[in-house]
Amino acid sequence: MKFGLFYEISIPRPWTPEKERTVYNNCLEQVKLADELGFDHVWAVEHHFLEEYSHCSAPELFLTACAMLTKRIQVGHGIVVCVPEFNHPIKIAERTATLDLLSGGRLHVGTGRSATWTELGGFRANPDTTKKSWDEFVRCLPKMWMQETFSYQGEFWSMPERTILPKPYQKPHPPMWVAVTSPGTEIDAAERGLGSLGLSFAGFEEQEKKIKEYRRRIKTCEPVGAFVNEQVATTNFLFCHEDEKVGVEMGKKLGNTFNYLATQLISTREVFSSPSYQSLGLLPALRRAATGPDASEQQTEGMAYGDPARIVRAVKKWESLGVDCINFILNANEVVPQEQVMASLRLFAREVMPVFAKRPANVAAAE
């Protein structure tokens, strides 16, 4: 089992330059510690216009800072919105390659298409075509990274032959993932040989079904890149405390805050009737299902908060379902004081990580 951090970078009102800077600095401090503690990944989302919920609109810059501050932790640029109004594919290829070089080959590239009208409408993107443009982008990216020259004529973008530079440090290219929130996207991931970057907190049963299907289908996939990245990651909240009650209470506060902010987002389906966005169960509903008032005991049991023993039980359950990596959200609207986030990371590294470690945890850093 691998462990990662997952950043939306949520910032409460009222926004001041100092507050935004403080939250960014808090995140960097957490990443630096996580690197020392032996966490495997740090992921940063790409979101735009999502007030309070996510101020992470330039994740490549945040991740560059992370890479510069750390030695070992892998940096996940994800997801990059693969919709032409958001990101030109050439720019994605260039900036990811640059980040891979700067991080010394520590980059993972997550792909996706955005789920909110707030974002799609803000860029005047057509929700009907985001799945199609995502498919074009993920087919092109590995070629843009690997081929000396590249040209393309597609439905959503085109370019004459040019040499896209720089090339990534990792050969043949960085591992590729896709965000899995809408039902069925796990199949899209499997059929293209992409890692499944789960962004919902759906219950054990639903996850198990998805993972089984992913594993089954990826065996016969035709990968978009030069290799198959068969990995299943899921997202969770983390608050680890010696006292189970304190840990659960703070963890619930974190989860409830995050979910309340998530439900304020205008999902595409809420306002834009489209066959491309069938499911209301995009991130808000699925996340609420895990921690909201309707959450079952089993779903709450899957949350990584409480004392170390409780968290070990939750992680073991995810491991038994076939999850390879859990990425943790550490804060939302700064409801968890920074010193408690840091203490939670240390305690998790000291008491939980060794249970799942193939290599010894950095005990000194966790003290």
Binding site: F49, E52, G121, Y260, I266, R269, E270, V271, S273
Partner: protein, 256 residues
């Protein structure tokens, strides 16, 4: 935490519809034709329109809805509504700002039963192959002239209608008091089309939304549905966040 509305409906309760009780009987409305045009509006132009208990939608948007009900307990009528996209706690809602019904009886009943801020006027609804058109007049003034242009078939499952909230006086705990009332119709779809919203006349003041400006169109839908106006299930304190001020009036729709 998220922004809240700024409207204190208790300061203008005399202008709100008044319900005699919260035991409104449900109406069944079969084979209704409903056009909804969703349009973004500048956030500043919605200032003062949303009750303090609710969160604004970000970006701000309104729903212009015109429906033809060929059958109802009061006979056929057309109804036009303006709703403001918002949140009641975690739930997407359309706060009803203004409405016009084509029959006096329907208007009276909708005010008295669900607290719709509805007046009587002329509401025309025309479904054609190239566009669906609606006009609304109060007296001799046209207050809405709109259309859904180039309708294209979609599946009913592609369309999501969000529930409504109205502001009205109603008896609760032995006193008549201003409340927010949730109206949550259900829908069975027979046909659904999608197209581009077009509005040529919109008199914001006539819809109780002075200053509201229409900006970018999002999408329009026109559907044939069996729908209803159900019994009232939830009311909310207009001044408290809904997670603190919501009262369940009845358990479920099972008694309808």
């Amino acid at each position: 935490m998220p922004l809240y509305g700024t409207l204190d409906i208790t300061q203008s309760s005399a202008r709100l519809p008044t319900l005699a009780h919260l035991d409104t009987e449900a109406w069944t409305l079969p084979k209704a034709e409903t056009m909804q045009l969703l349009i973004e509006v500048p956030r500043a132009s919605t200032d003062g329109l949303l009750p303090k208990a609710m969160h604004p939608a970000l970006p701000s948007y309104v729903i212009l809805a015109v429906a033809r009900y060929p059958e109802s307990p009061t006979g056929p009528f057309n109804l036009a509504m303006l709703r403001l996209g918002s949140r009641a706690g975690a739930h997407p809602r359309g706060f009803l700002l203004g409405a016009v019904a084509s029959s006096d009886t329907a208007a009276k009943e909708l005010r008295a039963r669900w607290g719709f801020p509805v007046e009587t006027g002329e509401v025309k609804f025309l479904r054609r192959h190239d566009r669906v058109m609606a006009t609304v007049k109060k007296g001799t003034d046209t207050i809405l002239d709109c259309a859904l242009v180039n309708p294209q078939p979609v599946a009913g499952s592609d369309v999501q209608y969000i529930n409504w909230v109205t502001a009205a006086n109603a008896p609760l705990d032995g006193a008549i008091q201003p409340l927010l009332i949730q109206v949550d119709p259900k829908y069975t779809f027979y046909r659904a089309d999608r197209g581009e919203p077009q509005v040529s006349t919109f008199d914001a003041t006539a819809w109780n939304a002075p200053g509201l400006q229409l900006a970018g169109p999002i999408i329009g839908t026109c559907c044939t549905v069996d729908t209803d106006l159900p019994r009232i299930r939830f009311v909310m304190d207009p001044l408290k966040p809904v997670f603190l001020g919501t009262r369940r009036i009845r358990e479920s729709r099972a008694d309808e």
